[in-house]
């Protein structure tokens, strides 16, 4: 495996920086079930990091550990060189980590614009009363937030559905709105849980394009879970492979592709007995 302790420049000219998030010996149990068993890996600044593995391997649990939704029984999460104390998900979000969900979690009755505006919640300091009266700081804040949101709308090319209730949108567009909401939070680290599940080829291509553009344009670090191997191999700089809660591979797409344990996990192994 390539030594990746130093920052380096990828083939397509992006700079990958220092370790941003370091997961050390994470173990997560639900009662007697070990969802994650002693896993360590890191995510570096500016990279696109994929987490792959068969169903039930513990990928989403891993993402939930990063986002602070699950608290691992063992192990440490280091963020920007500091050990992260136990945190609530909203505190994690304030540190600059945003996510999308495997099952779309948008407000169906609200418009696309309002949904994306909720991504700016952490940047709203004025209180409920001030917002109701809509004066001074509250008004300024909303204007600023709206400006940021409009840039995201422009970036993801969803101007035409700005005022459409999310419930009326097709699946592929809902996924894009979720990404928009996550981007509106100006994240340093973006967690994408199966951003392309259930999409057709064209939608996948669009989404891949957007993920690359987000990474390129805003320098956002991205960790994603994805089943489509073609997409994973094309997009990501490094891949972690999980199976039954254990890490069975970690490295560049090429390393992983040629890793016997990974091949066995995906294709199955013959049992001699």
């Amino acid at each position: 495996m390539k030594d990746m302790t130093e920052s380096y420049v990828t083939e397509d000219g992006r700079t990958i920086g220092d370790v941003m998030l370091d997961l050390r010996n994470i173990t997560l149990r639900f009662g007697g079930v070990e969802a994650i068993k002693d896993i360590s890996f890191d995510i570096r600044e500016g990279e696109i990091r994929a987490i792959i593995g068969p169903n039930g391997a513990g990928k989403s649990s891993m993402l939930n550990v990063i986002s602070g939704f699950y608290i691992p029984q063992e192990g440490e999460v280091w963020f920007h060189g500091r050990k992260r104390p136990q945190m609530k998900p909203y505190q994690v979000a304030r540190q600059g980590i945003a996510r999308t969900f495997q099952n779309i979690a948008l407000f169906e009755g609200m418009t696309v614009l309002d949904n994306i505006m909720t991504g700016r919640l952490n940047y709203t300091k004025s209180g409920m009363l001030a917002q109701a009266i809509w004066k001074g700081k509250a008004e300024r804040e909303e204007t600023e937030n709206r400006e940021k949101v409009e840039r995201v709308i422009d970036f993801l090319e969803i101007q035409a559905i700005r005022k459409t209730p999310v419930g009326r949108l097709p699946y592929g567009l809902k996924k894009r709105v979720e990404l928009a909401r996550a981007l509106a939070a100006d994240p340093k680290l973006l967690l994408l849980d199966e951003p392309m599940a259930g999409m057709n080829v064209e939608e996948k291509e669009d989404m891949s394009r957007f993920i690359l553009d987000v990474n390129d344009e805003f320098g956002t670090t991205i960790a994603l879970i994805e089943h489509d191997m073609g997409v994973v191999m094309d997009l990501s700089d490094r891949v972690v492979v999980m199976d039954y809660g254990k890490k069975i591979g970690d490295g560049t797409p090429d390393d992983v592709r040629n890793n016997q344990a990974v091949i066995d996990a995906y294709l199955g192994v013959a049992h001699d007995d």
Partner: protein
């Protein structure tokens, strides 16, 4: 009519821009919706933007007479790019932004463009794909840098940087010298024709062509500086160039650019243009959407809508034409306006339209009268790139769906012995670029231009009527007249039918391909609980075929009444399993059918139409938007339609 620069006072579009900045500098000239807000620029702002870019182009080394390709969606910055190009004495060549890479390559190679100013990464990529075939292309300027960060920037610069370079180090004196040197006979723009039949040809238009035409057409409809237009049609199309550049600069009115192609309808409503232009397809799509939404409305609303639409059909056109209308009808129309027409027009974004034009294709009488009856002054015009748009247009109060109006100001018309329409006007193009043979074929020494259309001037009204393309008007095996477009247009007037292609030249009878309109038929299927999984499946649904058959037979009955064309009735037809598409080369970018390509590609289907086979199995290659190819397979039903002889009609 031979107004020279002495009379108009300006010899070029940059001179017009300078005039506007001087005489109405603070007036809004351009708007573009960006980040959810309409951003505005006054004429004075525009003049600064253009000057900065022009000086920047000088630093890139653009020389007088160079050709500069422009490609992208309608944006103020690209209109300024054309003006900046002209300011430095170069010639803008707007290209269709959705053209495939090879079409772009052809145009760039043919005109020998040294520079390109484009909208975004998509356009840069298309040029990059064919870059090795274009040794002459020196530099590309792009507007939206998204996704371009990693590209080699040795001959790629952003628009803003070029402007900044112009501001910092531009040679003002040289720019002034070049702009001042422009005369009425300098080339204003080069536009590629859509190429219905052959390779696109570059039509060279002079400042004289454009400015005279803009002046005449603004006078004709009394267009003033307070008009608002929405620029949403391709910049490469001569119409957009005249409306958004020629007329806008001449009258000083405001050009509004939509946020994206998908938001056009929404932006149209927000702007509420006073002068509006659309091909029939746009009006058709709007009407289809209105009808679909009305079907989902409450019974009370439906009744109100239908009641007042009947009133409108009876009274509206008369009111528009200034004919006598009884007081009772006037009151009913007023009420209808309050309850139905005004809200509907507002929803369509046509509430403020003073003058609306449709052209490009014939418009269905029903469609036409729908808009007229709402009180929208929709008119027809007939034109082509070679005429700088205008050949004929309908004056207010003399509007009909079956004619294209009288000669535009300054235009002379004549009909040749073969029935072809010829015209001569100040707008007649200079030449086809690097193609003297074609120029000579089209334009004679006296300046008369052949339109390629067969038509006649109606004696009673003096209006021109167009039958079909001269080369398409053919003979059938028995020598009777074959006018496919005439029949196709009648078919296309049904909302269910998107496209039709009629065959019959040199044959004993006519047959047709039909494309269903997925929006209209899909909605019908939904309401009638008809399940379908694809366009292909819906197209072969028996009930759909029944409906189409009844349309074909109604059209046959109407054609049978015309003795000259009675033989053009359709004997057999099939509904195609795919939409005819410009990406597959079956249509032009302006959505005109390419008969030759279709006849070749669907050869097996045509053979089947002229046999007795009830079905035909076929495989067709399709090109996806990203250029990849695939094949679709289908078994198509072929139906026989009832045909009337002129005799039976007479007997009835």
């Amino acid at each position: 009519m031979s107004a020279g620069p002495v009379e108009t006072g300006v010899a070029s579009l940059p001179a017009l821009l300078a005039r506007n900045a001087r005489t109405m500098g603070a007036k809004t000239a351009y708007r573009e919706k960006e980040y959810g807000i309409w951003q505005t620029w006054s004429w004075a702002d525009a003049a600064v933007q253009v000057a900065d870019l022009a000086k920047g182009l000088l630093t890139l080394g653009v020389a007088e007479g160079d050709l500069v390709a422009i490609s992208g969606r309608n944006r103020p910055a690209l209109y300024w790019a054309m003006l900046a190009t002209q300011s430095v004495g170069a010639v803008p060549v707007p290209l269709y932004q959705d053209a495939a890479a090879e079409e772009i390559a052809y145009a760039l190679d043919h005109c020998g463009a040294k520079f390109a100013i484009v909208g975004d990464q998509e356009q840069v990529d298309k040029i990059a794909d064919v870059r090795d075939q274009l040794p002459g292309l020196r530099h590309i300027v792009y507007l939206d840098g998204r996704g371009l960060r990693k590209y080699d920037h040795s001959d790629l610069t952003s628009y803003a940087e070029v402007q900044a370079a112009g501001r910092a180090a531009g040679n003002e004196a040289e720019l002034d010298r070049r702009t001042a040197a422009l005369t009425y006979d300098h080339t204003c723009v080069m536009l590629y024709t859509s190429g219905t039949t052959s390779r696109p040809k570059g039509v060279v238009l002079s400042n004289r062509n454009v400015i005279e035409t803009a002046k005449n057409s603004c006078d004709f409809d009394s267009l003033k500086s307070d008009e608002e237009i929405l620029a949403y049609l391709p910049m490469a199309w001569v119409g957009d160039f005249i409306f958004s550049m020629g007329q806008a600069l001449w009258s000083g009115f405001c050009v509004n650019c939509p946020e994206s192609a998908d938001t056009m309808q929404h932006d149209l409503r927000e702007i509420g243009p006073s002068y509006f232009f659309a091909p029939p397809q746009v009006f058709e799509r709007q009407l289809t959407q209105v009808m679909i939404r009305m079907e989902d409305a409450s019974p009370l609303k439906q009744r109100m809508f239908h009641h007042y639409m009947d009133v409108a059909k009876r009274v509206g056109p008369k009111l528009l034409d200034g004919e006598a209308v009884s007081l009772k009808d006037r009151i009913a129309y007023r009420l209808g306006n309050y309850f139905v027409y005004a809200p509907l027009k507002d929803t369509l974004g046509l509430g403020r339209v003073k003058v609306g034009y449709t052209a490009g294709e014939a418009i269905g009488p029903e469609l036409f009268s729908f808009y007229r009856s709402l009180g929208i002054n929709l008119k027809q015009l007939y034109g082509q790139t070679e005429a700088t748009v205008f050949i004929t247009q309908q004056p207010n109060g003399q509007v009909r769906s079956d004619t294209v109006g009288v000669a535009s100001p300054g235009v002379e018309l004549k009909i040749s012995d073969s029935g072809e329409v010829f015209y001569r006007s100040p707008g007649v193009f200079v030449e086809y670029f690097n193609n003297p043979d074609s120029t000579a074929d089209t334009k004679d020494a006296d300046g008369w231009v052949a339109t390629g259309d067969a038509g006649f001037i109606e004696e009673t009204s003096g209006h021109l009527r167009i039958i079909d393309r001269v080369k398409d008007v053919g003979k059938m095996a028995d020598g009777s007249m074959f006018a496919p477009k005439y029949v196709e247009n009648k078919l296309k007037f049904y909302p269910d039918i998107l496209e039709a292609v009629v065959f019959g030249a040199g044959r004993d009878r006519c047959t047709a391909f039909i494309n269903i309109d997925l929006t209209a038929v899909g909605n019908w299927a939904e309401r009638n609980n008809i399940a379908y999984s694809s366009y292909q499946e819906l197209s072969q649904n028996q009930q759909v075929l029944d409906t189409i058959q009844s349309h074909v037979e109604t059209v046959n009955a109407s054609i049978a009444q015309d003795e000259m064309l009675a033989n053009c009735q359709i004997h057999r037809f099939l509904v195609l399993h795919k939409e005819l598409d410009a990406d597959d080369g079956e249509m032009t970018r302006t959505r005109k059918v390419r008969r030759g390509v279709i006849a070749e590609k669907f050869d097996d289907l045509i053979t089947a139409l002229y046999s007795d086979a009830p079905t035909i199995y076929t495989e067709t290659e399709v090109t996806y938007e990203d250029g990849r190819k695939g094949r679709i397979k289908a078994t198509l039903d072929i139906r026989d339609a009832k045909v009337l002889t002129p005799m039976t009609v007479a007997a009835e």
